[in-house]
């Protein structure tokens, strides 16, 4: 790694501006990242964080301003190749491995020089070594197809590849919400690695909506709002509340601690009862916890499929589903925001087979307001939204139905703090109104808000926690319990 005294910024942006049509995704950003620095980047959904990443990575060109890589010259244009040559590596917000290739083969994609005899062996060594270094104790087989891995494992592979050394060592690694699908243990391992990497002189841009992580890891925190940098302070300059305020959300009084007291609904009618042993009552918020990929998503999917028909549509569905893996389970990529939001509700907005378009637009407008989808026009394509805003559309789709049960598959991935609070409130209000929520989350903090929690382990329910039993320690204990027994 480069010597500690070298202070030439790895990347320097000068007055960077990026327009998508009329949308000012970036509106004059000046930012430099020095070696050894870990820059924490926060901001509401759609603030422009991912856009910034794409500029630095060379994937997008500036509309205005300049960018300078390492000791090179400042110019308004970059290229992916130039960025890679300067040692810039990226882990994108949406997973970007090739699911049809094996882990080893995926190493080949970013490393152009990895050819010739025995390239497979070398690639395998590179990724195996990094995985072991960053996530000790992982169980990923480098020969497995990425499509067969869980979403957390894919994220781990992508991170390992980004940090891997081949030809040019990485000098700046950009992590765009790397922990959104990792559980607490893995996230901690990643943070530890980032610390080591920076200590050795590498630079990191760390984007996350989990403010705790940012406060923990960043040597400097930059807050973005509507395409601009609004605040910038060194480590210790922010506390949690200060950060939230800087991001522009007025945190409602009392919402500071997300843990509302768990309610007991013993007397309420049981609305879900699966052979696997999961029950849920009317008005209850049931949490599914445990390490990632241990059957929670499958359990939700089974409930959803068993309670809806693929032969008969209905105006009053029994369940609604909020996807976490947006591209796979949620989005209709060529449709508008409006159409994406209204699909599940549509049967109720239909008269004699024809869609009542006025009612549809009304519903869309209402949800845009209620859940704060940041767009100037609901007719815009869904993919023009930032990741977090796409997630809000999926919430609107599910909550907009009359379904008495809402299934949520880690739905807060990439949702900013302010919105999260709004959604928490909305969920509580709906639950009070008699709706049942079954909620899988990788964030223990969220699970702790539930009335009852099932901890999954190896595809089965390992523990059921209620009331005061719902604590982080108990959940963790149950997650590892059987492993200890084996």
């Amino acid at each position: 790694m480069s010597d500690q005294t070298d202070t030439t910024p790895v990347v320097a942006l000068e007055n960077a501006r990026k327009l998508f049509g009329a949308v000012r995704a970036l509106d004059g950003v000046t930012l430099a990242i020095a070696p050894g620095e870990c820059l924490g980047l926060v901001g509401h959904n759609g603030a422009g964080k991912s856009t910034l990443v794409n500029l630095v990575n060379g994937g997008l060109n500036l509309t205005e301003g300049t960018i300078r890589l390492g000791a090179g010259t400042a110019s308004p244009e970059t290229s992916i190749a130039a960025a890679r040559a300067a040692g810039v590596r990226c882990v994108f917000q949406e997973l970007s491995l090739c699911p049809n290739l094996t882990v080893t083969e995926n190493v080949r994609i970013p490393h152009r020089g990895l050819t010739g005899r025995g390239w497979r062996r070398r690639a395998r060594a590179i990724v195996a070594e990094k995985l072991a270094e960053i996530f000790p104790g992982h169980a990923i087989d480098p020969g497995a197809a990425v499509g067969a891995l869980s979403i957390a494992e894919r994220q781990m592979v992508e991170i390992a590849i980004a940090f891997s050394v081949f030809d040019e060592p990485p000098r700046l690694v950009i992590l765009d919400e790397p922990t959104s699908s990792l559980d607490a243990g893995l996230a901690e391992q990643l943070l530890a690695h980032v610390r080591r990497f920076c200590a050795a002189g590498g630079a990191v841009i760390f984007i996350s909506h989990m403010l705790g992580e940012i406060l923990d890891i960043a040597s400097r925190i930059v807050v973005m709002k509507d395409g601009r940098i609004t605040e910038e302070r060194a480590r210790g300059g922010f506390d949690r509340q200060g950060l939230v305020d800087a991001m522009g959300h007025v945190a409602a009084e009392g919402a500071e601690d997300p843990r509302a007291a768990a309610r007991s609904l013993e007397g309420a009618e049981v609305v879900i009862s699966t052979p696997g042993g999961l029950t849920a009552r009317r008005g209850e918020i049931v949490g599914l916890a445990g390490l990632g990929g241990h059957g929670q998503a499958e359990a939700l999917e089974q409930i959803c499929l068993a309670r809806s028909s693929s032969w008969k549509g209905t105006r009053s569905p029994k369940v609604a589903f909020v996807a976490g893996d947006r591209a796979r389970d949620g989005l209709f990529p060529i449709w508008s925001i409006l159409r994406n939001a209204t699909l599940s509700r549509l049967p109720a907005l239909t008269r004699r087979g024809l869609v009542d378009r006025a009612a549809e637009e009304e519903m869309a407008a209402e949800w845009r307001r209620r859940i704060g989808i940041r767009t100037d026009d609901m007719d815009n394509p869904i993919l023009s939204l930032s990741g977090g805003n796409q997630q809000k559309v999926l919430f609107a789709r599910a909550l907009g139905t009359s379904a008495p049960v809402v299934l949520m598959d880690d739905p807060m991935r990439g949702v900013d703090v302010g919105t999260k609070r709004d959604v928490y409130d909305m969920i509580r209000a709906e639950a009070a109104g008699g709706r049942t929520f079954i909620w899988y989350s990788t964030e223990t903090e969220e699970v702790c808000q539930c009335d009852r929690v099932y901890v999954f382990r190896l595809g089965r329910i390992a523990a059921e926690l209620t009331g005061a039993e719902i604590t982080e320690e108990n959940i963790l204990a149950a997650s590892f319990e059987m492993e200890a027994a084996e």
Binding site: L19, F20, G21, A22, V23, E94, L95, S96, P99, N100, G147, E301, C304, L305, S308, S309, S310, W311, K312, G313, T314, P317, A320, F321, A323, R326, A327, R328, D329, G330, L331, F332, P333, I334, W335, S336, L338, R339, L343, S344, L346, P347, T350, G353, L354, V355, R357, D376, D377, D379, N380, P381, L383, S384, R397, T401
Partner: protein
């Protein structure tokens, strides 16, 4: 088949310059190019006709009507997403035409029965097709191809290729005109309007479009995926049955090889018409434009005396040129 990375497959479209004039928004319609091309071919052909364009136009409407009928069915199927296509259309046309004409045996009183038989054979084919796709998990392209062999055998077995004449009244209807417009074109126009309403305004159409983009997401969002796909395959086959019935009546009897050209034709009119073959985005007016174009381009090249080889090459080049001009996938609504 769920798409693993839908967001990657569909780069977001730049948007923003919202206040476009209506003229500009028309220019962006993918189906426009099909009509422009059809118009150009029409003008070029009409330029060398003695009698002016009227006769040519009406002839074009007549023959385009058959392509429109099968094209609309194919469009719904293709809209269901990658890998969905119905290759059994020609065989279905043959079977429907053969059974219907045999049943009518030239008797005008039997026309309703004949029509019912044609539509029912389409229905049966649709059920078989979807049965193979769903129950045996065979990819649609091969399921419908295999089914088409069975259907063709059934047609051979039922009448051994003997040509039965249609009842005179039916033949008169199929070749006749109402207010100067060919009857078959009127039928196709009605079907097209209905298809447009279903696709743009109806719940069913919205569901087809959703499945085409992401079947898994559609199922999880409460769309009755099987019912919609079933209905789509059945409608396609029923439309093919109707087309076969009309074509047999129009051309004086069913032949075993009738409809053979509608295999590629049905796909061509869908895609030239501006539907995205990747599914999830389709459009009805384009089918008319493309059907007219496909007829007129052959007429034009024939009129200019091009031989078979040159004609095929030019047809291919023009198809590619149109699609290239119309550009790639558009974002809908």
């Amino acid at each position: 088949m769920s798409r693993p990375d839908a967001s990657a497959a569909h780069p977001p479209h730049r948007h923003g310059d919202k206040p476009v004039t209506s003229l500009l928004s028309i220019l962006r319609k993918p189906w426009l190019w099909a009509f422009i091309a059809a118009g150009a071919a029409f003008v070029a052909t009409a330029a060398v006709t003695q009698a002016g364009g009227w006769g040519l136009g009406m002839t074009a409407l007549t023959f385009a009507a058959f392509s429109v009928l099968v094209g609309i069915g194919q469009m719904f199927v293709i809209t269901l997403g990658p890998g969905n296509v119905d290759l059994s259309i020609p065989a279905t046309m043959t079977l429907a035409g053969t059974l219907a004409l045999k049943a009518m045996a030239g008797d005008p009183a039997m026309i309703p029965v004949g029509l019912a038989i044609a539509l029912a054979s389409g229905l049966a084919v649709g059920v078989v097709n979807y049965g193979l796709i769903r129950l045996l998990s065979i990819p649609p392209i091969i399921a419908t191809l295999s089914a088409s062999f069975l259907i063709q055998s059934a047609a051979i077995w039922s009448n051994r290729g003997l040509r039965v004449k249609p009842p005179q009244a039916l033949a008169d209807f199929a070749t006749g005109r109402a207010l100067g417009v060919p009857n078959v074109a009127v039928v196709a126009l009605l079907v097209a309007v209905l298809a447009w309403v279903v696709l743009e305004r109806a719940l069913a159409g919205r569901r087809v479009l959703a499945i085409g983009q992401n079947m898994r997401a559609a199922r999880l969002a409460g769309v009755p995926v099987d019912a919609v796909r079933f209905a789509t395959y059945v409608s396609c086959a029923v439309l093919a049955g109707l087309a076969g019935f009309l074509l047999a009546s129009f051309s004086g009897g069913a032949a075993l090889n009738m409809g053979a050209e509608y295999l590629l034709m049905s796909i061509a009119v869908v895609v030239i018409g501006g539907s995205s073959i990747a599914g999830g985005n389709s459009n009805v007016p384009g089918i008319w434009g493309a059907s007219l174009f496909m007829f007129l381009i052959v007429s034009m090249l024939n009129s200019y005396g091009a031989g078979a080889g040159v004609r095929m090459i030019l047809t291919g080049v023009i198809i590619i040129a149109i699609v290239a001009a119309a550009g790639g996938r558009k974002v809908s609504r």
